[in-house]
Every structure is written in structure tokens, then in C-alpha cells.
Symmetry: C2
Subunit: 169 residues, 2 copies
């Protein structure tokens, strides 16, 4: 059975594909950078951050966590040649609204003991201060031996209220 | 010092923000679903998959790995109310081109022994068959106690050559 969400995907994609002209782009990002941002529904990275198709890797997870993105960042840089990281967290992030304890409690309550056991050691990586979280993630990237020293790194905040980015570090 | 990539971000974002009218969207995705896809530079999820701003979480990592996305998926569902998962891998994925051994070897060669030690236990999650990888990730999601049984799950492949999606499972 097709859900309304799946139907929307199929219909909108048919429209997209009917005008698609960029079938010959190369696998490695043409502008050799990656953007790491949040999964938040209010962010459209291509439009808001000016990424043309084929130009950059876009990694997205809850909170734009650099730690969570480590595997993808290494693959982006070591296997596909990116040389710059743009980290963008955002105002109103869900990660500001709960603690690890809250999340583990919710999983146990909603999903039961087997789910709680499955993720017993999982760090949900919430944070309590947005700008500090940007600084900490940038520090993590700069300290990690897996990110070469010549990789350019900057940290930003996107305002979901205004559509504007501002640089933090 | 501002890099050309950072300059592009600032300039393109100023244009985006100058026409921005969606500053009052709610934090939870309005259409209660999440898309999990690859970080690949040739994918523009909003355009190709028909996502309007505010409608869906978008999780992206190397290879669209469900396992790698687990933390974000739990947060999306348990804290922000999403009820459907659309998993989309794609043709020409970089994850089809190397093995775990290759990646670990490359890290050691390019970044040295301290980087190799830092990620000694990291699984890069490559795969050798695209459709099988979609099926395996869907099976992983269906099996995980952290994904409720009433969550609708489907698996797709996006063709970077044509801009088209097709359903696998």
C-alpha cells in the first residue's frame, strides 16, 4: 500500500526528473567542501546555504553533531577529496530541549525494555547552549587526528526565524 | 580570513534571507516523516523528493546508513513525532567503491597512526550491492526495537543519472 507521503514523493519526483539535466556530474564534490547541519525540517541547505547540485557533501543529523558525523566526514575527505568543513547549527534546535536522561527515559517508557537495552550506551548528544555547542564541535574537529590540519573549518548558526546565517567561529 | 566557500555562503544566504517568509514554522515536522538519504553532492532532497520547508526531517550520511542514523531517527520519532521513514540510497554511491580495510588503510597512510588508533573500531559501513543494501537497512529498521511497529517504512533508489526515484521495498 502506498502512503500519502510515498505518493507525494513519486509525484513530485516525476516533475523533478522531467526537467532534470544534470545527469553527468562527477562523484567527488566539485567545490571540495562539506556542510554539516541539522536534520531540522526548517532548513533547506541547498537554498539557504547556496549549494549548487554537485558542489558539496551535505551531512545532516540531529543537532549537526560533528562527533556523530565523524564516519561521513572521514569518507568525504579521505575518499572523495573535500578540504573544507562548514558546520551550521541553528536557533530553536530540538537538542536544546532535553537531556540524555530524558531521552533514555522516553525510549524505555514508549518502546519498552528491549529498546532501552538496545541503546543503553547511546549518547543522544543534546546540548544546553547553542553557541557553546558550535564552539565545542569545532574544537572536537580541530583536535581529532582524523581531520588534517590544512582542512578549513568554520562554525555558524542559522536563524530559523529570519533565514540568516551568522559566523560563530 | 574568509575562504571563497565561506564568502559564497554569506552572499547566497543574504539573497535567501532577503526573500525569507517562513520564520514561524513549528519545530516538529508538519508532515510527520523523515527522509534518510546519502550526503552525496548530486542529491538535492527538497527538490528531488518534493519536501516543502517544515515538512520533514532530512538525515544524511555517507551511504544513507540506517545504523549510522539511529540516534537521529529515535530523536525524530520519540521527541518530534515523526511516524514514517523514507530511506533513499542512490546509484553511483561512493560506498560501493571501497572496503572497510581500504578505508582504514587510507586513514593510516594519509593521517598517521594516531588517527588510525582514534578510529580503530569504526565501521565505515560500505556495501557491495545497492539494492541489497537498501533491503538490509530496511530489515535493520524493522527489526530494531527502537522503531515502533506502526512506523511506515519504505526503501528507494535515486538515480543520479536521471533524477528519478524507484521503490525497492
Amino acid at each position: 500500500m502506498t502512503s500519502p507521503i510515498q505518493k507525494n514523493l513519486v509525484e513530485k519526483n516525476a516533475g523533478y526528473a522531467s526537467h532534470f539535466t544534470k545527469g553527468d556530474l562527477a562523484l567527488p564534490p566539485a567545490k571540495h567542501y562539506l556542510i554539516l547541519t541539522c536534520m531540522d525540517a526548517r532548513i533547506d541547505p541547498a537554498a539557504a546555504f547556496g549549494i549548487d547540485l554537485g558542489d558539496a557533501h551535505v551531512i545532516r543529523n540531529a543537532g549537526a553533531s560533528a562527533r556523530d558525523g565523524q564516519r561521513s566526514i572521514i569518507i568525504s575527505e579521505q575518499l572523495l577529496g573535500t578540504k573544507e568543513i562548514i558546520l551550521i547549527k541553528h536557533t530553536g534546535c530540538g537538542m536544546l530541549t532535553f537531556s540524555n536522561e530524558d531521552a533514555h527515559g522516553l525510549v524505555k517508557k514508549n518502546l519498552g525494555p528491549s529498546a532501552a537495552v538496545e541503546i543503553a550506551t547511546l549518547d543522544f548528544l543534546p546540548f544546553s547552549n547553542l553557541e557553546d555547542a558550535v564552539r565545542e564541535d569545532i574544537a572536537y574537529l580541530r583536535k581529532s587526528a582524523t581531520v588534517p590540519e590544512d582542512v578549513v573549518i568554520s562554525g555558524w548558526i542559522y536563524e530559523v526565524e529570519t533565514g540568516k546565517v551568522r559566523q560563530v567561529v
